[in-house]
Structure formats: C-alpha cells, structure tokens
C-alpha cells in the first residue's frame, strides 16, 4: 500500500478512533452503565462523574505507561541480565564490563565537558542577546533570526558546520571558513593578536567570572552568616573545589596558548584534533540552543518591574550595574530553568556526534556510546547499563522539577 495513503488512513483511524472512543465511552457510561434516570438518577450521575476522568485519561495513561514507564524498568532489568545466556541474571556484571572500557570513560569525560560548556555558553549568549535587543527598534527581527537555528535539525546543522570545518589540500582554495581564516595567519602581528592575545583574554575573563561566582558562593561561609547548615557548607566546598579546578585549567591553558608553536600554512582537519574537536562539536549545539535561551530570558527581562530599574537609574547606577545587580538577580529563577533545560538536551545529545564524527577521534558521548552498544555491537546488557547511567544523570533534574511543580500547585 502506498505509504501516503496508509498515512492518511492512519490519521483518519487514529483521530477518528480517539474521538469515537471518547464520545462512545461517554455515551455508554451515561446511558447504559449509570443511566441518569429512574430511582438512582442522582447517585448514578455522581458515579458517572467519578469514572469519567479515567475515561478521558485512559489512552494517555496507557501510552505513557507502555512507552515511557515500562521501558525504565525493562531497561533496568536488561542491564542486569545477559542476552547471550538467555537472559540470566548477572548482577552488576554489565556495569563492571562498561566501567572497564576506556571508551566509556572517554564518553563520560566528554559528556561532563559538554555539560559545563554548552549550557553556560548558550545561556550566556542568550542573556546577552536578550539584553541587547530589549530596547532597540529592530530587536524582534534580530531575535527572530538568532532564534532560527531552533528549527534546523541537528543533522542539518551538522552538515552546515561540516562545511565550515572543511579542509582542502594546502595548494587549492579553502572552502571551509575556519581553514580560510586559518590559512590567512602567517605568524605575523595579526596572528599573535588573534591566536595568542585574544584567547588569553577570553580565558582570563572566564577565570575571572568563575572566581567571582565562587567568591559570592563561599562568602557566607567566611563571614559565618546565620543560615549556615552543614549541608550547605559541603555544597559550598564542592563548588569551590570545582571552581578552583576550572580556574587552574584555564590558567594552565593560557600557558599552553603561549607555548604552542602552531604550524602556519597547513590546513587543519578540525574534527580530528583530539580534545579540541569536542568544542567544535559543541559550537553546533550552542548555535542551536542560544535562540531558546534568548526567547525565555527575553520574556523574563520584559517582566522585570520598571520601578526597580528606575530606582537604580536615579541612584546613579551605570548600565552594567543595572544589568548585573538589578536585572540578573531578579531573573535568576528563569536562568536556572533555561540552564537545566539545556542540560537535559545536552545529556541526550546524539545526532550531532553521530553525524559529524560518530565518536571517532575521542569525541564519544554517552548517548552515542549507548547507540553503538545497542545497535552495532548488539550488546544489550552494556547498552542498557549506559542508558541507565543517562537516566541516573537526569534524575536529579527530574526530582527537582517534580518537587517544584508540586510546590506550585499547592
């Protein structure tokens, strides 16, 4: 049968079936099971109204239970059994096997890098654009254009960026922008400015921002403020250690920027440079997600009460103070929401890595590692174990969301 015709029939059967189900189940409930007439009319109406919500919910509960609830438990079960031994229970053997694989740790390391860089960069760019376009006349056009990559598939974006990273032999014209720019460097003053001084400034700015954030974070502990619980202090020390590590990393990168002696005049295969290629892949996702962050944060900035800003202006605050000290604290909740939403996208990132490098050259990430295990190696045990790792990483956000949703409903 022609798939288009099959599709049309499915729409009719699916939609018609759903509507028919809701209509007739309601009719049957009202006229056959609990008819609203005779002696029990009042009681029957009440009874029917107790059953009706479940009629409305039944298809959704069925689909959610079967397609999202059941797989969580089934995957857990599969991760504890071995397919080659007819599904015998093997305990944590699959996890043990997975942890012993260097490819898994490579995927974990890369995923952590993605989790740090992509949400931070996308949120920062989104916030920047939202603030800059807030008061200008053509702001909506600008926002719409920056939002556009949201509509582009990860695969399409991968093709777009593969063209940017393309490399041709040195004697022919470069058609990738990155290499065209790279080939214009010759070790002169321009190269020093672009390849040494600019990265140094970026790294130092990054280290400065991290330092500022962790300073604000541990300040209450140093000053011994009142709401100092042991748990909070542990969290502060963890954040401090992590921030210190980030600062150390960025400072040591500054040293390596200056000590590196790049070979000019050679086109680079950007996607095969170990470690750095991860960042070239992340750029794709940042490019897509910035629009999302911008839309949400832009609405949040619009929602800031005008009086607070006017008061700050009257008190003589400059635009930067207004932004960092008045606006950002007021939209902190939204920033956290944007951050966690992008974190979720990052945890599941698959298409970009699959299409651009397929995990070669040390760019593996968890979702692609899982796909490799499930459908290339046909190893359901380890594949399910890695899926459970993704689930485990997601669950703090899950719990946090549910907690907030319940709080809001009270």
């Amino acid at each position: 049968m022609n798939p288009a015709l099959q599709g049309l029939i499915t729409i009719l059967v699916g939609v018609g079936g759903c509507v028919g189900y809701f209509y007739f189940s309601n009719r049957i409930l009202d006229t056959v099971i609990f008819p609203a007439r005779g002696d029990d009319a009042g009681r029957n109406i009440n009874r029917a109204n107790m059953v009706r919500p479940w009629l409305f919910l039944a298809p959704a509960i069925f689909a959610l239970g079967l397609y999202l609830g059941y797989p969580v438990f089934e995957t857990l079960r599969l991760s504890l059994t071995d397919r080659t031994q007819d599904g015998a229970f093997v305990g944590l053997a699959n996890y043990g096997q997975m942890v012993a694989e260097p490819k898994f740790w490579e995927a974990m390391r890369n995923n952590i890098l993605w989790l740090i860089v992509v949400p931070a960069a996308a949120t920062a760019f989104g916030l920047l654009v939202a603030q800059l376009t807030d008061r200008i006349s053509w702001g909506n056009v600008a926002k719409s254009l920056i939002f556009m990559p949201m509509a582009i598939s990860f695969v399409g974006a991968s093709v777009i960026f593969k063209l940017i990273y393309d490399a041709r032999p040195a004697e022919t014209a470069q058609i990738g922008v990155m290499n065209a720019v790279w080939m214009s460097f010759d070790g002169g003053a321009g190269s020093v400015l672009m390849l040494k001084i600019l990265p140094t400034l970026i790294l130092l700015t990054f280290a400065g921002i991290v330092g500022y954030v962790i300073y604000n974070f541990i300040k209450p502990m140093i000053e011994g403020s009142r709401n100092n619980t042991a748990l909070m202090n542990v969290a502060r020390i963890v954040v401090f250690a992590f921030g210190a590590w980030l600062i150390w990393k960025s400072l040591s990168s500054v040293v390596s920027v200056w000590s590196a002696a790049p070979v000019y005049g050679q086109p680079q295969q950007w996607l095969t440079l170990p470690f750095w290629n991860n960042f070239f892949l992340m750029v794709v996702l940042i490019w897509i997600q910035t629009g999302f962050a911008m839309v949400i944060l832009s609405a949040a900035i619009r929602g800031i009460p005008e009086e607070t800003i006017e008061a700050a202006v009257i008190d003589g605050a400059n635009p930067f103070q207004i932004f960092f000290k008045i606006k950002v604290p007021q939209i902190m909740g939204t920033i956290v929401v944007v951050w966690t939403t992008i974190t979720l996208v990052v945890l599941k990132v698959f298409d970009i890595v699959f299409a651009m490098t397929n995990g070669q050259w040390e760019t593996q990430v968890l979702a692609n590692y899982m796909y490799d295990k499930l459908f290339r190696a046909n190893d359901w045990g380890v594949g399910s174990a890695s899926a459970m790792v993704i689930m485990l990483l997601v669950s703090p956000i899950l719990i946090w969301n549910v907690y907030n949703a319940r709080k809001e409903m009270r």
Binding site: P3, F22, F56, T75, A173, K348, M370, V394, V402, M409
Partner: protein, 386 residues
C-alpha cells in the same frame, strides 16, 4: 549633561553594532549552506562560498584550437579563433585582465601582447575580444595549448542541484522519496498525540478525582525521561506483537514520546481559562464531553498550535526514533535526516549534493518556523518548567 547624552548615544551605537554582529554570526553558517546549494560542483571547489557573491577575479583555464584547426603559413603552424566564443569557451562578455601560457607564470602578459612560450618555438597573441593567434614551429598537439586567463566573472548561480536532488537524481542523490517518507511520519505523529493529550489535559485541569496531583507530578517527571531508555524494550515489544519496523511503530513511538509535553502544555493553558464559563455551562446542563468539545477546544487553540509546531519540528528533525523504529534493512522507508547522514558518509566531498539535500530537509521547518513563530514562542514560554 551633554557629555552624558553623547556617552549614551555612543552606548546605543555599540548596542546596535554588537546585535548586528551577533545576527550576522548566527546567520553566517546557514547562509553558507544556502548559497553553496546554488553553485555547481566546480564553483564550490574552486572558491569559498563567500567569494561567490561579488564579481571575482579568477584564473580560468582555456584551450586554443588543436591540430585540426591549424593552418600552415610558411614554416609555421597557425591557429586562429576566439577563446571566449569557441566551443567550450565561457561565452562573450567576460572581462579579461591578463593571461599566461604556463601554470607557473599566471597573468604574466597583458591583453593584446604576444606571449612567447618557454621553449621559444611557440607564440600566442590574445586580444580583449577573445580572438587569438597562436603560432608554433612544430605541428600542434591534438588538444591545443592551455591558456590561463585572469578574468572577472560575475556571480553565477544555478538551480540545477535542486533538480538533481528532487527529480532527476538516482539512488541516494534523490531525496523525493525520503521527503514523502518524512511527511508520512510527521503528519500522523503530530495530529494523534494532540487529540489524546487534549482529553487528558482537560481531565487534569478541570475534573476532580483522587490521584490528580500525583498524575500531574508523574507527567512532569516523564517530561525529562530520556527516550534512549525506551529504544530496546519497545523495539522488542514491536517485534514481539508483530508491528515490526515500520510506519505504525514510529507513529506510536512519536505519539507517546510527545505526550508528556503535550499534556503539560495543554493543562497549563486550560487551567488558566476562566472558571465562570465552564461552571455556567455545567449549570446549563452541558456534559463534560460537550464542555470539552464546544468550549475548551476552541479556546485552547493557541496552546494546541504551539504543541503542534513543537511536535512537527521534533518529528521532522528526528533521526534516532526513525532509525530505531522505522528504517529496516531494505532502506525503502528512509527519512531525510537518515539519508543525509548516509550522504555524509558516502558523498562527504560532494558539497553540491550535500548542501542541497540538507537545505531541502531544512526548508520545510524554516517555513513553518517563520510562519508560526508567535505560537512557538508562546509554547516555549509555557513549556519550560517554572
């Protein structure tokens, strides 16, 4: 005061310029692909796409006539003709600035000059209209001499690539089938979850029953469950109950994966509808079914539209679900994203094919995006868990 004002206007300029820079930076990648899809294979390899927008000076390689066109004049073989308008020539109207007769000395001679070849036995005179006179002591080769002309070529674009990708291409180069496959996946997978979710959202928003809060919490939790977990168990289920890999399986999967967001968005919207309308209808004796179809559904149109756009973009752009639940070994049900990934593997260097294929796949979501952006933004604002 005036210092303050000028400082302010300087800041405004900085804002305008930095927004412009960011917008250009964000458009640049897509523009590259878009423009490349209108260039021929030779043009793409010959220069970066950014060079194609302006008239560019390029070195093009042309050939004089060969042995067949040669006429003997005394002890010299002479070939006369026109480099531009002869067969294989680029056509009249090209502005030549210089020419060379060896690939090691490009543009060594002015137009109108007579160039001597390094072997001392051949000469070539080239005029601005393209006419030339080539002389040689020995009989010329069959294919004629190479001439390297520096010429300013105007921007030139072609829609030939789209013809190949959509109509005339063969095998993997033809996206027509994948285009319709994608459409076949997308439309039912967008419409069916809306119907199911709308009823469920109404129940969760406006009906009183025990366990409602728990159900809402579960929906919020399911919003973030990675669909990666569902792949193997559901594929086994589909194979077990005889659905196998095919459209039905992918429709069901997309429907279920879209449901949490759909229910969440629609419930949030429906909760905000005015209570009076619904209670008045109840008092007038309307049943829940009637309230839902006659009042709630029409009022919820904006939320329905937002979700429909989300689901459409997500199913159209999806690769993973289609790869697992739809595409079997024969590959006859391939979708566009999958075909592009395959093209990346097999035709990695053929940018005219890749760029056009990618743009065909991107264009539909882009049209939807620009046409219905308002609803998309509204949905995003409602859908991000607060």
């Amino acid at each position: 005061m005036s210092a303050n004002t000028s400082k302010k206007s300087a800041l405004t300029w900085v804002v305008h310029l930095s927004v412009l820079a960011l917008v250009l930076l964000w458009l640049f990648p897509t523009a590259g692909l878009f423009i490349s899809s209108f260039r021929t294979a030779d043009q793409i390899v010959g220069s970066g796409w950014w060079a194609s927008l302006t008239a560019s000076e390029q070195t093009i390689q042309l050939r004089t006539g060969g042995r067949d066109a040669a006429v003997q004049e005394g002890d010299l073989y002479v070939v006369e003709g026109n480099l531009l308008t002869d067969e294989d020539g680029p056509g009249a109207g090209l502005t030549m600035s210089a020419f060379g007769v060896s690939s090691r000395a490009l543009g060594a001679h002015q137009i109108g000059e007579t160039a001597e070849f390094s072997d001392g036995e051949e000469t070539l005179q080239l005029n601005a209209d393209g006419s030339y006179r080539y002389t040689s002591v020995e009989e010329p080769g069959r294919r004629g001499q190479r001439v390297f002309v520096n010429a300013t070529t105007p921007p030139e674009f072609t829609t030939e690539n789209y013809g190949t990708i959509l109509f005339s291409g063969s095998g993997q180069d033809n996206m027509a089938k994948a285009f319709f496959n994608t459409l076949t996946v997308t439309i039912p997978a967008t419409i069916i979850p809306i119907v199911i979710a709308a009823f469920a959202a109404y129940a969760l928003a406006w009906m009183e029953f025990p366990g409602r809060a728990l159900l809402i919490a579960i929906v919020v939790g399911l919003l973030v469950v990675p669909l990666q977990l569902a792949l193997i168990p559901l594929l086994r289920l589909h194979l077990g109950i005889g659905i196998g890999k095919g459209y039905l399986g992918v429709w069901l999967a997309h429907t279920a994966f879209g449901l949490p967001l759909a229910i969440y968005l629609l419930r949030n919207y429906m909760v905000g509808l005015p209570r009076d309308i619904i209670e008045n209808a109840r008092v007038d004796g309307a049943t829940d079914f009637q309230i839902f179809t006659k009042i709630i559904l029409p009022l919820s149109f904006p939320a329905l539209a937002s979700f429909a756009i989300f689901q459409f973009l997500w199913t159209w752009n999806d690769l993973l679900v289609a790869k697992v639940f739809l595409i079997d070994a024969t590959g006859s049900t391939t979708v566009m994203t999958n075909q592009i990934v395959e093209l990346l593997g097999t035709r990695g260097g053929n940018w005219e094919i890749l760029a056009t294929a990618a743009f065909v796949s991107i264009s539909v979501p882009l049209v939807v995006f620009f046409a219905m952006q308002r609803y998309l933004v509204r949905g995003l604002l409602a859908g991000s868990v607060k």
